[in-house]
């Protein structure tokens, strides 16, 4: 465990130095991300000035869904961004080096692109979440907060499983680089509660493409709107997806053929 933390710290340090050496690019990205969040909030506020609620959710509850989406998206990028570049590692021959090193390749690759810029965006996410929570009638209970934290961790496990699935596809086919961006875009469907979607899509979003489980469930749990069945389902789904992704990774590694060592 200690060895893995040292590896993560060394790789994270490298990422930080890279980002600090490209201040203009990093600054542009950071401002862009904050702008996107700010614009979305501005539009949401403007829309809700004219409407009392959406499917029973107030503006503050909608903001909570949006902030939960941001929290999971940002945390997943911070932790797993390295897995975006599996195809590049294969093409450059670096993948061969990584799989021969004495550390789990998935851990090693995931930790390669620790995105510190995303950490800064968590600051406004935290403040806005606190503001939205303070405006929700009745507030939240300690149990709700504990469930929220648990389900956020659960969502990160699901996010990790998807990153591993997509990385494995690249290992097998040397293609599907764009698949990770499709995943990111599908995640954006969780900016709003899944109850706004049609029955068919809602069904998809809690099973095949579990955006609802990842984003809506934690926010609903925080507001005391999620049943215990929902919590147990989310936990079971994460375990199944995680085990499936690990198995897919292993079989993909067996089928891997080096192309540029």
């Amino acid at each position: 465990m200690k060895r893995y933390f040292r590896i993560w710290a060394a790789l994270a340090h490298n990422s930080l130095r890279t980002q600090l050496s490209t201040k203009m690019a990093s600054g542009g990205y950071l401002i862009g991300k904050l702008l996107r969040m700010g614009f979305f909030l501005t539009y949401l506020m403007a829309i809700f000035k004219q409407l009392p609620s959406l499917k029973g959710y107030s503006i503050h509850q909608m903001v909570l869904f949006f902030m939960t989406f941001n929290l999971i998206d940002v945390a997943a990028q911070f932790l797993f961004r390295g897995l975006y570049g599996v195809k590049y590692l294969i093409e450059e021959g670096d993948f061969d080096k990584i799989i021969t090193q004495p550390a789990h390749p998935l851990f090693r690759i995931s930790s390669m692109g620790v995105d510190f810029l995303d950490l800064f965006t968590l600051v406004p996410v935290g403040f806005i979440t606190a503001w939205a929570l303070s405006k929700i009638p009745g507030g939240v209970t300690p149990g709700g907060v504990a469930l929220y934290v648990l389900l956020i961790a659960n969502s990160l496990l699901i996010a990790y499983a998807f990153h591993v699935f997509i990385g494995s596809l690249s290992v097998r086919t040397h293609e599907f680089e764009s698949a990770i961006w499709v995943y990111r875009d599908i995640m954006t469907l969780g900016r709003f509660p899944v109850t706004i979607y049609s029955d068919l899509l809602r069904g998809l979003f809690v099973t095949v493409i579990p955006v609802g489980v990842m984003v809506s469930f934690p926010a609903q749990a925080l507001m005391g709107l999620l049943s215990w069945k929902g919590v147990l389902y989310a936990l079971a789904l994460a375990v199944v997806l995680h085990l499936g992704a690990q198995r897919f990774w292993k079989t993909s590694l067996r089928e891997y053929t080096s192309i540029s060592t």
């Binding site: 542009g28 086919t173 764009s178 698949a179 599908i186 709003f192």
Partner: protein
């Protein structure tokens, strides 16, 4: 002309080389469409209108906006900075082809693929979801919308070319480019109609070229801008194309003077 045609075909081949990536890339636009379509559909279920938009008008706006995102806001000029940084530009400068024409051709090839692809995606969306789509208010409005969209494509190309040329000054232009594109998408109306914003923000945006990329063409389509306003919108677009052309030519000239062919 023939060389540009060859370049156009080669660009198509290159983009379709890894078809899985192309298909996935196209699939990305559907996420924005679905999220906004269902947001507005839910918001307007029991209401006559929001900010003067009826349910049909808003859902038409969302669907047409997705088309304009592919037609107007797609670009390939984000590759220019790396071309400059790696010195590949030297090779291009020696060829009997203009740099602007080279990228305009590649952009046209990319847009033609995007147009074809988004038409298929939208047909499937309309077939399965059956949104209450409104046609243009008149034949003249359809013509004005088509012309305005063409002008918007020219405007956006000039903007994105200018952003690419900034690569002469810094190899890190992708950060500011990302920031610019985020600002552009929201202020162009590529997520929500600009007239939903507070009045002060609308006044500021009216001085910028961005709403002329998506919002104003769609205002013509939906009849929000009447025939008496068409000339003003089209005139503003032509004016902005002129300004942006002058700016991008100026930047290109200034950049070329400082180009040191590093790595070339």
């Amino acid at each position: 002309m023939r060389k540009y045609l060859t370049l156009f075909i080669m660009s198509w081949q290159k983009q379709l080389e890894v078809r899985s990536d192309f298909i996935f890339e196209r699939g990305r636009s559907l996420a924005v469409l679905f999220s906004l379509y269902y947001l507005w559909s839910s918001l307007l279920t029991n209401r006559a209108d929001v900010a003067g938009y009826s349910r049909s008008e808003m859902l038409t706006y969302v669907v047409m906006m997705t088309l304009l995102r592919a037609w107007v806001l797609s670009n390939v000029t984000d590759r220019i900075p790396s071309e400059i940084a790696q010195g590949k530009l030297s090779d291009l400068l020696l060829r009997p082809i203009s740099h602007f024409g080279y990228w305009a051709t590649q952009d046209a090839a990319s847009k033609s693929l995007a147009i074809g692809s988004v038409c298929i995606e939208m047909s499937l969306f309309v077939f399965f979801i059956r949104p209450p789509l409104l046609p243009p208010t008149s034949v003249a409005a359809a013509g004005a919308f088509a012309f305005s969209t063409l002008l918007a494509m020219a405007m956006y190309f000039q903007m994105s070319y200018m952003l690419g040329v900034i690569g002469f000054w810094t190899a890190q232009s992708w950060g500011p480019r990302f920031c610019f594109e985020v600002f552009l998408e929201f202020s162009a109306g590529a997520y929500f109609p600009v007239d939903l914003l507070p009045g002060a923000a609308q006044k500021v945006l009216a001085w910028l070229p961005f709403p002329y990329l998506v919002f104003h063409p769609l205002s013509i389509y939906l009849g929000k801008a009447g025939p008496d306003q068409w000339l003003s919108i089209l005139g503003h677009q032509v004016m902005w194309i002129g300004v942006l052309t002058l700016a991008s030519r100026g930047l290109w000239g200034a950049g070329l003077r400082r180009y040191a062919a590093e790595g070339g």
